[in-house]
Amino acid sequence: MLDVANLTVDFRVDTGWIRSVDDVSFSLDAGATLGIVGESGSGKSVTALSLLRLHNDRATRLSGRVSFDGQDLLALPERRMRELRGRDIAMIFQDPMHSLNPVLTIGEQIGETLRIHQGLDRKAAQVAAANLLDMVRIPDATRRVTDYPHQLSGGMRQRVMIAMAIACRPRLLIADEPTTALDVTVQAQILELLRDLREEIGMSVILISHDLGLVAEFAERVIVMYAGELVEDAPARTIFEAPAHPYSEGLLRAIPSADVDTHRLYAIPGRIPDPGNRPPGCNFEPRCSLAQATCAASPPPLDPIAPEHRIRCPIRSAAKEVAE
């Protein structure tokens, strides 16, 4: 259904263009779930926003192909793209505090999607909005419809965002760090809600998070991004139980465990390089414990090491081959 091929995103800065996302490819079947993991600055949100072309046109250059049901979204005229946003592909964002318009009622904001795409009148949209609030399990929905965002808690606001996103029963929902700004208990509820709605509506979901544990639990397939590149693409079980890329390993080790008695929390040494200031070879090489001289020489390719499993690490690819 969704097939992203060689997606590259450049942003204009004062000094020219910098590459934010570099040659990312992945695909997603109808009804499937995909997780995108990486730390801040890895390009995961930029990738997601590119699928809907929500970047500022004049300061962004997109190349590659994003094919959705056979049509290339990057080549679609803006008017057609607009029809598709919110109707076929919907998105929810990280910060529910700031993602809702403070001066419009939540009913108005949810109903707007339906009025645009399904031509509902104001009254019908309001009724539909109340039903959607019910669907995302907001109690007393008919009364809540006229509330403003500031009258709701963070978790409630994220539910409203979800209600807004599923209003037209989209075929793909992109959730960009949907639980990051929320309390842990609320996080679990929101994820459960997303899981239930996915089944109810039969939509595909892309879940973006820096939390590998959360993503592995939710998604069937996971891609790991680092410094604008895809470094590992594998089924969620594989990533969680036997990650192959040293960066994925690091991410996994960085999840604190209650079972193991650790004195210190693990952190990957160093930090992610700035776009425009990336090393000539492997982006992860400066932080990698396996690094060899060849790693710094040229950018490594993305190699298949097993069916459904690709990594961008020649050292590990070679080790795998030897083992076999």
């Binding site: 109707r87 318009n101 645009i116």
Partner: protein, 314 residues
């Protein structure tokens, strides 16, 4: 809502008292003696002393202040020295002139400034933005008395489109009323248009950067509706704040404009009164202008509550 109004009015009372006292003190700091002027060039010391005594100016300043405030509390603004007319009456007679000028200038400023500011923000860094910002810069930098003179030379003298001076009351003839106001009102508005356009632009740029604008676009809302419905409503708070300030500035600015276009308004009365050291008129006029500003601010606070739901409930 009723509580909010009552609260704002209660807050305004001490402010108005302070305005009254400051107005009085400011006037008494001015050099010059009204008694000398009223008594005339030929008067001797005794005659001047007599006038001074009649006006109560020989009493201690504190006493004069007390008498003035006490009379004010009873609605008595005093009597003009140069006009031999109650101050309140003199001001009210001229109110329609200044009021018309300020309101017409306000009605020109608000839509023009907002539209220009929104255009500049939406088409940021394009020629449209540059053009609007350049116009705004000219508007805020060029003194309006100079523009007024150029405007009179072009539109009144050369083209003959508008009268160069005077004021025709609204009840006499609407067309001539408007014709007499258009030129001074536009000149008066130019500075404010520039100011409002810059404020609207920066407020709009700020809002266009917010997450909820991205949310609206992700829903498939068109750019036009995103700007008009989602973004503009969020800039209204700042626009309303600035608008109140602008209305105050327009009333203040009419002092100069009324002089240039020879309009018999409050501003002109004020200037004449200062020249004649007509204490009661100067004090009364400034006080009433002060009250007008306080009233405008109360109005703005009430409009906030209407514009922003967060103010309504907090």
């Amino acid at each position: 809502m009723a509580r909010l109004i009552a609260f704002r009015i209660a807050q305004a009372i001490p402010v108005m008292f302070v305005v009254a006292v400051l107005t009085f003190l400011l006037m008494h700091l001015l050099p010059g003696d009204p008694a000398t002027i009223i008594a005339g060039d030929m008067a001797d010391q005794a005659a001047i002393a007599q006038v001074r005594h009649d006006l109560g100016l020989d009493r201690p300043v504190a006493m004069q202040l007390w008498l003035w405030v006490a009379n004010l509390a009873q609605g008595d603004f005093g009597t003009s020295l140069m006009l031999n007319q109650p101050v309140a009456e003199a001001v009210l007679e001229r109110l329609p002139v200044t009021g018309s000028l300020a309101v017409v200038a306000f009605l020109i400023t608000i839509p023009t400034g907002i539209v220009l500011g929104v255009i500049a923000a939406v088409w940021r860094d394009t020629w449209a933005d540059t053009a609007v910002m350049l116009l705004a810069l000219i508007g805020v930098s060029v003194p309006n008395f100079w523009i007024a003179i150029l405007s009179v030379i072009l539109f009144s003298v050369t083209l003959g489109w508008f009268p160069s001076s005077g004021y025709v009351p609204l009840q006499d003839d609407f067309g001539r009323w408007l014709a007499s106001l258009i030129q001074p009102a536009v000149v008066l508005a130019l500075f404010q248009i520039g100011y409002l356009a810059r404020m609207t632009r920066s407020a709009m740029l700020d809002v266009l950067d917010q997450d909820y604008i991205r949310t609206a676009r992700a829903k498939g809302v068109s750019i036009t509706i995103t700007v008009a419905k989602h973004a503009f409503r969020n800039t209204l708070m700042q626009v309303v704040t600035v608008s109140g300030y602008i209305l105050s500035l327009l009333i203040g600015g009419s002092v100069v404009i009324e002089q240039i276009f020879a309009m018999p308004g409050i501003g002109r009365l004020l200037v004449q009164a200062i020249m004649a050291r007509d204490y009661p008129v100067v004090q009364g006029t400034m006080l009433m202008l002060g009250f007008a500003f306080v009233f405008i601010n109360i109005l703005i606070d009430l409009i906030y509550a209407y514009v922003d739901p967060r103010v309504r409930y907090d």
